[in-house]
């Protein structure tokens, strides 16, 4: 019989035993789910995801601090994210005093009683030769009929280039436009106060209170009209040519940012938390399992050697453990992480930091197990059946593997099971202390919530904690089930 088939046999036996218990079944299902999700996420994760997550410009389109979309069922007022691809919209074409003007009339229905978080216009258009300049101007007609002129108004000079590349995320002109539309506003508010959140005045009803010297705004639901004038100064160019260029462009769009986003909401940078949590799976499992497996393996081997052989090697291992045990882990970790963060600034910084955290966690977490395994080995070593095995000629290796190891396997299983969530928690704790490697771990998300969030942002705080708890639960249940497998006295 080959070793492989033997291993398969014992594996199928263990699986059968685990599945015969309720806790084992639950743990098994959870573990399979964890592994499947992790593998899937690991395959999907882009190679430089850490950078992408931390400083990526992908998130600018998202609303920040937004609850998930389903929060509307919990009573949250949700303004949905509304996106208009202007390339597919047929504009009205006219020519006014030598300019070609495309007029886009976009209707926007605001049904929720809240303000959208922002406006954004993006254009990436290669225009034909002969277009000298371009102008984008947006007027908004409010449901009450008021017209806010030139909320966005931008010129692009095209004498030396034929590329319009615009990303009007926080157009500076908005505040001025708001102030000129509502001339009374300046009596009550300074420019700085208005520019905190100009959307209030665009999508709201203003009421002035002379006596209290303040302005109150309430959301104004209804149908808004966005009148976008896209005009060009041309020289020998047909309007149709320009229109074709616009339709074939890379991007020309209007986005009205909502207040709710996706499955799990967003954080203060507008990052999609669902994505971060999803990619957190393989990282959490990798940290937990790698640290737990490595530190348990080292601890078991060190403890067995120390306890069984005794003498100088025992003294050496135990004194090493003593020394390691009296070095404070946290300051060391902070020190190492800080120096790495200072030394490596390149692309490989996240992976180097993660590896260093791995190494330090492993190096500092095998000691306790080694002490316990040593004392267990010492007591098992003096058992009569070990002496009996010696009397029939068993080698040291055989005694360790057949007589001592099976006795401590329950403890090893328990230690493995409990140190897995422990490693995940330590990593989370490190993140909270500011040691960030950049990968979106659950601890990392929590730590950013600590720094930049408030308690009302439950969608940011609860899910990572819940996922850490689920992983812990999986391993604890697995440990309970395993205990009965490796301890024959508990079996019947």
């Amino acid at each position: 019989m080959s070793l492989l088939s033997k291993m398969y046999e014992s594996w199928s036996w263990i699986r059968k035993e685990i599945l015969s218990q309720v806790s084992g079944k639950v743990a098994f299902v959870l573990l399979i789910a964890l592994i499947v999700v992790s593998v899937y996420a690991a395959i999907l994760m882009p190679p430089d995801y850490a950078k992408y997550w931390d400083v990526g410009s992908k998130w600018v389109d998202n609303p920040y601090n937004a609850p998930p979309e389903w929060a509307s069922y919990l009573g949250y007022v949700c303004v949905p994210q509304t996106f208009y691809d202007l390339r597919t919209v047929k504009p009205g074409v006219s020519e006014v005093s030598g300019r070609v003007v495309f007029t886009y009339n976009i209707t926007y229905d605001l049904s929720a009683r809240d303000y959208p978080q922002g406006l954004r216009i993006r254009a990436n258009i290669v225009v034909p030769q002969g277009v000298r300049n371009a102008r984008i101007r947006v007027d908004i007609i409010k449901p009450d009929g008021a017209r806010l002129p030139a909320i966005i108004d931008t010129y692009v000079d095209l004498t030396n280039t034929s590329l319009i590349d615009l990303n009007l995320d926080k157009p500076e002109g908005i505040v001025t436009a708001v102030m000129s539309a509502y001339r009374d506003l300046v009596k009550f508010l300074s420019v700085e106060e208005i520019s905190i959140f100009p959307m209030k005045y665009i999508f709201g009803n203003l009421s002035y209170s002379e006596t209290l010297k303040k302005v109150e705004t309430t959301p104004l639901p209804g149908r808004y009209m966005f009148v976008i004038d896209f005009s060009f100064r041309v020289f020998n160019v047909q309007p149709q040519e320009i229109l074709r260029a616009v339709e074939k462009s890379k991007e020309f769009s209007l986005l009205i940012k909502g207040t709710c986003y996706g499955l799990m909401g967003t954080d203060y940078k507008g990052r999609d938390l669902a994505e971060g949590l999803f990619y957190g799976f393989p990282i959490a499992l990798a940290i937990g399992l790698l640290v737990a497996l490595a530190s348990t393996a080292i601890g078991v081997v060190a403890g067995l050697v120390s306890g069984y052989y005794g003498g100088f090697i025992d003294e050496l291992i135990q004194r090493t453990v003593d020394v390691m045990g009296s070095i404070p882990l946290l300051p060391i970790l902070i020190l190492i992480a800080q120096s790495i963060a200072k030394t490596y600034t390149g692309e490989d910084k996240p992976i180097v930091m993660l590896t260093a955290i791995f190494a330090v966690l492993i190096a500092f977490s095998w000691g306790g197990l080694a002490i316990i395994i040593r004392s267990m080995t010492l007591s098992i070593k003096s058992e009569l059946y070990v002496e009996a095995a010696k009397a029939v000629g068993a080698s040291n290796l055989r005694i360790i593997s057949k007589h001592i190891l099976p006795q401590i396997v329950p403890y090893i299983a328990a230690s493995l099971v409990y140190s897995t969530p422990n490693a995940i928690l330590t990593e989370a704790g490190l993140s909270v202390l500011g040691i960030r490697h950049g990968y979106p771990t659950w601890g990392n998300i929590l730590s950013e919530a600590r720094q930049n969030g408030t308690i009302s942002q439950w969608w940011w705080i609860l899910p990572p904690g819940f996922l850490i708890a689920i992983v812990s639960l999986t391993f604890v249940l697995l440990g309970l089930a395993l205990e009965k497998v490796v301890e024959p006295k508990l079996r019947r």
């Binding site: 009569l384 002496e387 009996a388 009397a391 029939v392 000629g393 080698s395 006795q407 006295k489």
Partner: protein, 356 residues
């Protein structure tokens, strides 16, 4: 010498006592527990040789030394290896053709070969069987170690035979069980089967029945006698129970504080004890005759056995001996023969030859 299975000469085992820091600094010499302090005896082929004594007298240590479970401090134990084992031992280690010194460092292969030939049965059948292994795998272990039986089926056959030999029938029922599922007597039978499965020629039996129910002691002893009759076995039987010794032993060595004080054929030692200590032991055996029960027996020895770390000078028994003389306190008595094959170490019997 050809019928001598084992000749033990001046066997000693000292366990060092851990010294405190002050003791080390003040340069005091290291102290030892002298568990076995120079014992000599012979085991004849096919004989049951008994080591008898109180607990703490070193008889178990002597047994473990012969079974090579611990290393001796000094002495010699010349063992005549049986034929099948002899091939595995290099010529250089053999003395007088067949003998090997059991004590001291031996190469791994020789050590393994000797384990085939010398086995030990432990006192405690509850401790000597690994609770995590089935009876089958406990018995299979020695076969795997010594590569006896090439296939699993072959080994299974040997295990079945061994189990029925110790009267655990039907064997198929026992191989799958764990030790906690069988009784103490059955456990000891398994332990005996494990010792016998390698076909040894010398078995050290360390109080094999003292932990068992009185009702099954006789069965186990009878089983051991049957096995001896079946194979060419010699036993070194260690016991504190003179009744058991009387039943089973050919010759008896009485030990006191790491020394043999009396040695001879069992009927002579038990019926005609010469050493005061042996006399006390024999008189302490419970009286089976109810009519003698009311008689207050004379207990000729007083006090407790001293610590083996602080052994009295001269004769070790002198603080407790009712016949102690001046010489007993200063000089150890030599072993002398009082009748053919019956030796004793006591100044009472050596008066003539003792220098005054």
């Amino acid at each position: 010498m050809s019928n001598v299975k084992l000749e033990v000469n001046d066997l000693r085992k000292y366990f060092p006592i851990r010294r405190g820091l002050t003791e080390v600094l003040s340069g005091k010499p290291p102290r030892y527990v002298r568990a076995v302090d120079g014992i000599s005896f012979e085991v004849i082929d096919g004989e049951i040789f008994c080591l008898v004594g109180e607990s703490g007298c070193g008889k178990t240590t002597a047994g473990r030394l012969i079974a090579r479970l611990i290393e001796a401090t000094g002495g010699k134990a010349m063992y005549r290896v049986s034929k099948n084992v002899k091939e595995m031992i290099p010529e250089g280690l053999l003395v007088n053709g067949d003998y090997v010194n059991l004590l001291g460092k031996l190469p791994g292969s020789v050590d393994k070969a000797l384990r085939l030939d010398i086995q030990i049965i432990f006192q405690d059948p509850y401790g000597s069987l690994n609770p995590r292994m089935t009876i089958g795998s406990i018995l299979e272990e020695p076969l795997i170690i010594h590569s006896i039986g090439s296939t699993k089926e072959e080994r299974q056959e040997i295990i079945y035979r061994a189990l029925s030999e110790v009267k655990l029938n039907p064997p198929e029922e026992f191989v799958e069980r764990y030790p906690h599922m069988i009784s103490g007597g059955q456990r000891q039978r398994v332990a005996i089967a494990r010792a016998m499965i390698l076909n040894p020629s010398l078995v050290v039996a360390d109080e094999p029945v003292s932990m068992l129910d009185v009702s099954i002691r006789a069965e186990i002893l009878q089983l051991m006698l049957d096995l001896k009759a079946l194979r060419n076995l010699s036993y070194i039987f260690i016991t504190h129970d003179l009744a058991v010794a009387n039943y089973i032993c050919g010759r008896i060595a009485v030990m006191y504080l790491g020394k043999i004080v009396e040695l001879g054929p069992s009927d002579k030692v038990i019926n005609n004890p010469k050493h005061p200590y042996t006399i006390a032991l024999v008189s302490a055996v419970p009286e089976p005759d109810p009519s003698n029960r009311t008689k207050i027996r004379e207990v000729p020895i007083k006090g407790e056995i001293p610590s083996a770390a602080a052994i009295p000078s001269g004769c070790r028994l002198h603080p407790r001996c009712p016949y102690a003389m001046d010489i007993c306190k200063v000089k150890e008595p030599p072993m002398i023969e009082v009748e053919p094959g019956h030796q004793v170490a006591c100044w009472l019997h050596t008066k003539e030859s003792a220098p005054s």
